[in-house]
């Protein structure tokens, strides 16, 4: 799919939900995804083509997001897409409801606080430099007063994200990095105001503000990067606009799936997904159930058979009587099960919080110890308080606060460029701990398509007839056979009167004989223990074409690399043993299990976890969702079912599986950098704390310590990008 081209990292600043003005009018219209636009001519071309369509009031292209919003009440989307198609632009409808604007609003809020903090920091720093270079008496007091007037409101506004998060943590009786940060901010500001009132020499307004600015900056970048990944993942879901064709007395009408009710008749064309659970009332076809069960072989279905939402109709037109729609479908029920299974992962404590749990008590005890010690030694409470607060500020909460977001931003950005959308904040850390990877087969390790094997065993006539018949069908086996034969330059034989019997195969007349290509029982052939289609030339002999699942590119390489990284790989599939064994062998996997039901998959993951293993689950189907949610970390390909993508930590764009070992490597590198960053911060503290405890710390020393440690931490984080 064209979306496999990774959108630019800048694709984050905006979204569909506009709050006010003219933009809102456009945004309430239709959203189109334009995956290939890239230049100024594309903008004018697209907007021009759309405005020419009757009924279109306005159209606006967003090149960053590669989207267009069209204000065209009453104009069907197909008309707009067709108009763009004629003008040479590929367009797809997007479901605006699925593109939430919450992440965008949050990052804009953070950017505003960052801007205010930056303004205040620059001004206060100017005044502070004057004080450090020797301003005294009334001038110093005046500068301190101006600094206070700028710093206090700024801290109250810009510091809110830290205060709120710290408050949440404390009221939940936990410690996170924001607790020491908030405490340092409040104490520094409070002491500085007190010192200013007393015409003291030292005020820490600049330190408090630069702490706020740097930390907000890191948090903003981290959030923006993850927001870009998440909105790209959301766009994948929004591309699948849920529509159904309902049959009424008036004829066919296209409606949203949400409007379907039990008892409705819906028509499902070949290649389309069933919109709801139901019973086939008319037509015969074959159904791809791999999303539900992992079976790679299509299943025949005819009148009276049950079908489920999410399955794909392959060959014949079908009419289905809906028995359950919306929240009552099997699909939705499985999704609810997953929501229950998700608890385990939210218990994960991120590295930053674990570090804070050690760091915060240590620093606060140290500051208290300094205060008590100096009061006891000198009896001067004001001086003791100064030393205690200097200790709190100089112990580098800035470097510690930056340690994780700086690395996360760099690592997420690197994976983003590689086509991996990291959605969860702790995914990198969990990925680094992986020691076992569990693959699903159909659609994950394989492409969900098949290749014929052993064609050399057949003579030319057989192949020629096979091509003629196979070309007449849209069945996946026939399609693959026809494509492969065409590639080998085998001409189709002259077969007359070709007709497809949905659910059975294709029939025709060749040299006055009835010839058939299709199921074993229909062609009176002996059923083989493998995926195959059978050809009957009317001469009594039976010929079978065997197929094997096509591996995704890089599958074997990915398994090899993962094993080289010390990660054990295994294959869990709901498919039959022969197909799974074959795939496992080609991918280089020795550990495999076939015929595994969805709940058993989850059980296998739980058992592995009980043995103390950290499992990475890679899967795409509904039968994998519970396992994806239960695993320590999870990846799903872009082609996966929406439900599977939603529960995964990482979505893999593109086809190449070698990105998976890279993701594990990047995760490990990121955690290594985070630990190094904590080490760097500790090294600075080893120098700074004795100085602060001895009472020699000045606001200038604090500013220097903070800046140098923050810069070293950020530079170290950048090394992940390579």
């Amino acid at each position: 799919m064209s979306l496999a081209e990774v959108p630019s990292p800048a694709a984050c600043g905006a979204c569909a939900a506009a709050p006010s003005g003219r933009d809102a009018a456009v945004a309430t219209g239709t959203l189109l995804s334009l995956p290939h636009i890239h230049c100024a001519a594309c903008i004018t071309g697209v907007e021009g083509a759309l405005r020419k369509v009757p009924g279109v009031n306005d159209a606006r292209v967003n090149l960053t997001l590669k989207r267009a919003s069209v204000d065209a009440p009453g104009v069907p989307v197909e008309t707009l897409v067709a108009a763009l198609g004629r003008a040479g632009y590929e367009a797809h409808e997007l479901d605006a409801a699925l593109l939430s604007g919450t992440g965008d609003r949050a990052s804009r809020d953070l950017l505003m606080r960052l801007a205010v903090a930056g303004f205040a920091m620059m001004n206060v720093m100017l005044l502070s430099v004057a004080v450090w270079s020797g301003a005294t008496d009334a001038t110093r007091d005046l500068f301190h007063w101006i600094s206070a007037a700028i710093a206090i409101p700024t801290l109250a506004f810009s510091g809110q994200p830290f205060f709120r998060s710290a408050l949440r943590a404390v009221s939940a009786k936990r410690l996170n990095m924001d607790v020491p940060i908030s405490l340092a901010l409040i104490l520094a500001a409070g002491l500085s105001v007190y010192e200013t009132l007393q015409s003291g020499a030292h005020a820490y307004f600049d330190a408090a503000l630069s702490l706020t600015f740097f930390l907000l900056g890191a948090r903003f970048l981290d959030m923006r990067m993850r927001h870009a990944a998440r909105s790209a993942a959301e766009e994948l879901s929004a591309l699948e606009v849920p529509r159904a064709t309902r049959l009424t007395d008036m004829g066919e009408e296209v409606i949203a799936v949400a409007e379907l009710r039990a008892g409705d008749l819906v028509r499902v064309r070949p290649g389309a997904r069933f919109p709801a659970d139901g019973v086939v009332s008319e037509g015969a076809s074959e159904i791809d159930r791999s999303f539900l069960t992992g079976e790679s072989l299509p299943v025949a279905a005819g009148q009276g058979d049950d079908v489920h939402a999410g399955e794909v109709n392959l060959t014949g037109l079908m009419t289905v009587r809906v028995t359950a729609a919306g929240q009552d479908t099997t699909l939705a029920r499985m999704r609810d099960l997953v929501a229950l299974a998700e608890g385990a992962r939210t218990k994960y404590t991120p590295l930053a919080d674990r570090a804070a749990a050690i760091y915060a008590p240590a620093v606060h005890l140290l500051a208290l110890f300094a205060f008590v010690g100096w009061v006891w030694a000198t009896g001067d409470v004001r001086f003791a308080l100064n030393v205690a607060v200097a200790t709190l500020i100089i112990t580098c909460p800035c470097a510690l606060g930056l340690a994780v977001p700086a690395v996360a931003t760099a690592a997420t950005g690197r994976l983003y460029r590689r086509g991996l959308l990291v959605k969860s904040a702790t995914a990198l850390e969990r990925l680094a701990e992986i020691d076992t990877v569990v693959f699903d087969k159909t659609g994950t390790l394989t492409e969900g398509r098949v290749d014929p094997v052993g064609l050399a065993a057949h003579d030319d006539d057989t192949l020629a007839v096979a091509r003629a018949l196979a070309e007449a069908s849209s069945h996946p086996l026939a399609r693959s056979l026809a494509e492969t034969l065409a590639e080998r330059g085998i001409a189709a034989a002259r077969v007359e009167g070709i007709a497809e019997q949905p659910g059975h195969g294709v029939e025709g007349r060749w040299q006055d004989r009835r010839v058939r290509l299709g199921r074993a029982d229909w062609t009176e052939a002996e059923m083989l223990e493998a995926t195959a289609t059978y050809l009957d030339l009317g001469d009594g002999a039976h010929r079978a074409f065997r197929f094997t699942d096509r591996l995704r590119p890089g599958a074997a390489e990915a398994v090899g690399k993962l094993e080289a990284l010390g990660v054990e790989a295994m294959l869990l599939s709901g498919d039959n043993a022969a197909a799974v064994a074959d795939t496992a062998e080609r991918a280089g996997l020795s550990d495999w299990r076939a015929g595994v039901r969805p709940d058993e998959k989850q059980q296998v993951i739980a058992d592995l976890a009980a043995q103390g293993r950290r499992v990475l689950m890679v899967g795409d189907g509904l039968n994998d969702t519970a396992a994806l949610a239960a695993a320590h970390a999870s990846i799903s390909p872009a082609s996966a079912l929406d439900a599977a993508r939603v529960v995964s930590d990482i979505v893999l764009l593109g086809n190449d599986l070698t990105a998976i070992p890279e993701a594990v490597e990047t995760g490990r590198a990121a955690v290594r950098r985070i630990r190094e960053n904590f080490g760097i911060a500790a090294a600075y503290n080893a120098v700074a704390i004795p100085v602060a405890l001895a009472g020699f710390a000045t606001p200038l020393a604090a500013a220097l310590a903070m800046s140098t440690s923050s810069i070293s931490v950020s530079l170290n984080a950048l090394r992940v990008r390579r």
């Binding site: 800048a10 600043g13 905006a14 903008i43 090149l63 960053t64 801007a115 001038t139």
Partner: protein, 53 residues
């Protein structure tokens, strides 16, 4: 030192003006489509008169 009476307000007002301009741009969604805005300057549309809302 009397010059401070002018210089401090001047520096604050200039900085504040920058801040206000940035916040205005942020609220008016000027950072919505940086790539598109860079490309749009090359087109001839609305060269004579701005687009009417």
């Amino acid at each position: 030192m009397n010059v401070l009476v002018f210089l401090i307000p001047v520096s604050l007002i200039l900085g504040g003006a920058g801040l206000v301009a940035f916040l205005w741009a942020l609220r008016r969604r000027q950072f919505e489509d940086p790539e598109g805005d860079a490309a749009r300057i090359l087109t001839d549309d609305y060269d004579d008169a701005p687009k009417r809302d």
